[in-house]
């Protein structure tokens, strides 16, 4: 890393560039300003060691940190599998109305074979019966497609909220220190000692028993996103804080201070790009765990209810009793989708960790 080149800090753009190549895994391109310096990071040898351009005729390639990260991600086979899987699942959820001809809560009693009692997978009425139907003839295929919307929305929404609050407060806490930091640390101690799932169960149970609200799926979705986000940001804040504690002592921060850059700008323009790697990885892992947690709440009957709104968790609640008479399809497919989604996100998280060069905290 060309550390010694950073001794003459003339322009702020240059500092941002220098900070991005600081080795701690920033993806560069901070807030989209068009400074040429940082867009053209010079990197002779790729840290990941991939030899794909060893045979190119130029010895030195100019790549941004983003390009470097993408290059490493592209060569991570498991991560690509994960990204593809996730892409398909997201597309399935978005284009649900085009992939099925029925509404998820429309019963089709004629799809149940009352002679044999069978509701199992069938190729007739393709594709709506490929995953079978439930006891009153809901298409499980349609339920699974529409259920994905809820899972993905809650996972992404809640994780985004937790990241936004956690990153901002963690950054302020780590950068300024002092009583703000003290206060936030004690609050984080408190929040991290509270068992999350039991607490969510307790507060969801109260909402669920409200005679009006429990049928209002839109309200419950908003409630779960807010609750997940507001109760889990301290974990994010603690990790972001640890990066700010390190970076505020480094030369590029001191240099920025010396040329009179204000604190706000240092926090978000100079240090944040360096901490973006771990934040993205944390974001990904949070999405996966929120999706499972939300499905768990639904499964326990403390989340979104079906009817009216199917989710991967509440389909399984209804399917539980049918399992014992051998109707395996009802529980299998929604759970399989849940597993695929979480697996895809975890695969991607692994690839991102390597691509963004986030050191393992273990």
């Amino acid at each position: 890393m060309p550390d010694n080149q950073r001794t003459a800090p003339e322009a702020e753009e240059y500092l941002v560039a220098g900070s991005s190549s600081g080795g701690a895994g920033g993806v560069g391109n901070p807030v989209g300003e068009s400074g040429t310096e940082y867009a053209l990071q010079t990197q002779a040898v790729e840290p990941g060691g991939a030899a794909d351009y060893a045979d190119s005729d130029v010895a030195v390639q100019q790549l941004t940190q983003l390009e470097l990260a993408w290059r490493r991600f592209r060569h991570h086979r498991i991560a690509l599998v994960g990204a593809t899987m996730l892409g398909i699942i997201i597309l399935m959820a978005i284009f649900a109305p085009f992939l099925t001809r029925v509404a998820p809560d429309a019963p089709h009693l004629d799809w149940i074979d009352f002679q044999t009692g069978s509701t199992g997978p069938s190729l007739s009425n393709f594709p709506d019966r490929i995953m079978g139907v439930d006891t009153i003839g809901h298409s499980i295929w349609a339920d699974v497609l529409y259920g994905g919307r809820i899972s993905l929305m809650i996972g992404l929404g809640a994780s985004l909220l937790a990241m936004t609050i956690g990153t901002s407060l963690g950054a302020i806490s780590g950068y300024f220190g002092g009583w703000v930091d003290m206060l936030l640390q004690r609050f984080t101690d408190i929040m991290l000692s509270i068992p999350f799932l039991p607490l969510m169960i307790a507060i969801s149970a109260i909402i669920i028993h409200d005679p009006v609200l429990h049928q209002n799926s839109g309200f419950i979705v908003t409630f779960i996103i807010l609750a997940f986000g507001l109760l889990t940001w301290p974990g994010v804040a603690r990790i972001v804080r640890s990066y700010y504690l390190t970076f505020r002592e480094q030369e590029f921060t001191e240099a920025a201070k010396a040329v009179g850059v204000n604190d706000f700008r240092i926090i978000f323009r100079h240090i944040l790009p360096n901490a973006v790697g771990p934040i993205i990885v944390l974001f990904t892992l949070n999405v996966a765990s929120f999706i499972v947690l939300e499905a768990t709440l639904d499964f326990l009957g403390l989340g979104i209810e079906f009817p009216p709104t199917p989710t991967w968790g509440n389909i399984l609640t209804n399917a539980q009793d049918e399992l014992l008479i051998g109707h395996w399809w009802w529980a299998t497919f929604p759970g399989l989708m849940l597993l695929m989604t979480v697996l895809a996100i975890n695969f991607m998280g692994d690839g991102l960790r390597d691509a963004l060069d986030v050191r393992s905290k273990e």
Partner: protein, 348 residues
């Protein structure tokens, strides 16, 4: 060391108070009468008089801070209140459920570590081998399994699809493994009931076999995710250690690989795992909410879900505060154990 411990304990008190305040207020922000809606059940409406009488009965007519201080002063006296559902003291209810939970969680911990530690070591020693790569992918799948779905799938496979002849009913078949409760209630009194100990004494082998059969599925479900997480952890820890200078020194001295690995490397690599297990100890008290629910295991977890579902807030408060306290203590013990096993660490 002693002053450090005392200071940590003193810091723990305000943190615990903060937790209980936060929990109490979160449990209390509820629309209209709060837990009462859950108490009377969904969709039922009460007359204002009935609502007033109920509020009076549970002391809900007072403002939240007053109720909190009443709850806290009772807690200091060792009184966690009575369950609003059964009227029995919460402590008694918990004492009744704790043995079932400790049995389940204890066995799954043991099973989990017996699997995870050797797998992690083996995988680290053969890094980048076919075994390591296959193991890594399988681990991802196991780690991503949603517990409740995985439990249901095991139930359908081992409880419904795979059948064995039923010795009790000749000519009939039953599922290979039981998947509900702790004992076969057709022949045995419920686990923990006064009759159970005399039944156990009379037929020790039948009783043990029955209990063991009921343990298999929930233990496997609980241990699977743990194996995935802990074997990765063991692998990482082992990889750290085998690159250390003292391992190279041991090799340079000409020690056989067996001694280097088992005596020098594993003994050091296993320490983080031990402390990691320490951090998981609160689960021994809290139980496994989802797994206990699926397998109708009469432990703390399923008790809590039922209590929360019926708005039994003394139980909710007692359970969550207990878990929080256990978490704080486990953290402290873990930090202290670091100093105990690693003489380089000094707290002051």
């Amino acid at each position: 060391m002693l002053t450090y411990t005392i200071r940590r304990l003193l810091i723990a008190i305000p943190i615990f108070l903060g937790i209980t305040i936060l929990l109490y207020f979160l449990v209390s922000i509820t629309p209209d009468g709060g837990p009462l809606a859950a108490y009377v059940g969904p969709g039922k409406h009460l007359s204002p008089q009935q609502l007033g009488a109920l509020k009076d009965k549970f002391g809900l007519d007072q403002p939240v801070p007053v109720r909190y201080f009443k709850w806290l002063s009772a807690l200091v006296r060792g009184d966690l209140g009575n369950s609003t559902q059964s009227g029995i003291p919460v402590i008694q209810e918990m004492k009744d459920r704790l043995p079932a939970t400790i049995l389940l969680i204890g066995f799954s911990f043991i099973f989990q570590e017996l699997m995870a530690i050797p797998l992690g070591i083996f995988s680290a020693l053969r890094r980048y081998s076919l075994f390591d790569q296959v193991f890594t992918v399988i681990n991802y799948v196991l780690y991503s399994l949603p517990t409740f779905w995985y439990g249901l799938m095991l139930i359908i496979l081992f409880g419904v699809v795979i059948k064995v002849p039923d010795p009790a009913n000749p000519g009939f078949t039953k599922g290979l493994l039981p998947f509900s409760g702790m004992v076969n209630l057709r022949v045995s009194p419920p686990f923990g009931s006064p009759d159970y100990s005399s039944y156990f004494a009379a037929h020790p082998f039948t009783a043990l076999g029955d209990l063991a059969a009921h343990l298999v599925l929930p233990v496997v479900v609980l241990a699977t995710v743990g194996v995935a997480a802990d074997s990765r952890f063991m692998r990482a820890s082992m990889l750290d250690v085998i690159n250390m200078d003292y391992i190279r020194t041991a090799r340079a001295k000409g020690l056989p690989q067996r001694i280097v690995i088992w005596k020098h490397a594993v003994r050091n690599a296993i320490l983080p795992i031990v402390t990691n297990i320490g951090l998981q100890l609160p689960v021994l008290l809290g139980g496994a909410i989802v797994t206990e629910q699926i397998f109708s295991w009469p432990g703390m977890g399923s008790f809590y879900v039922r209590a929360a579902g019926t708005g039994d807030y003394p139980v909710v408060m007692a359970y969550t505060s207990l878990l929080a306290a256990a978490t704080i203590i486990a953290n402290l013990l873990t930090d202290l154990s670091y100093a105990f096993v690693d003489p380089r660490i000094r707290y002051s």
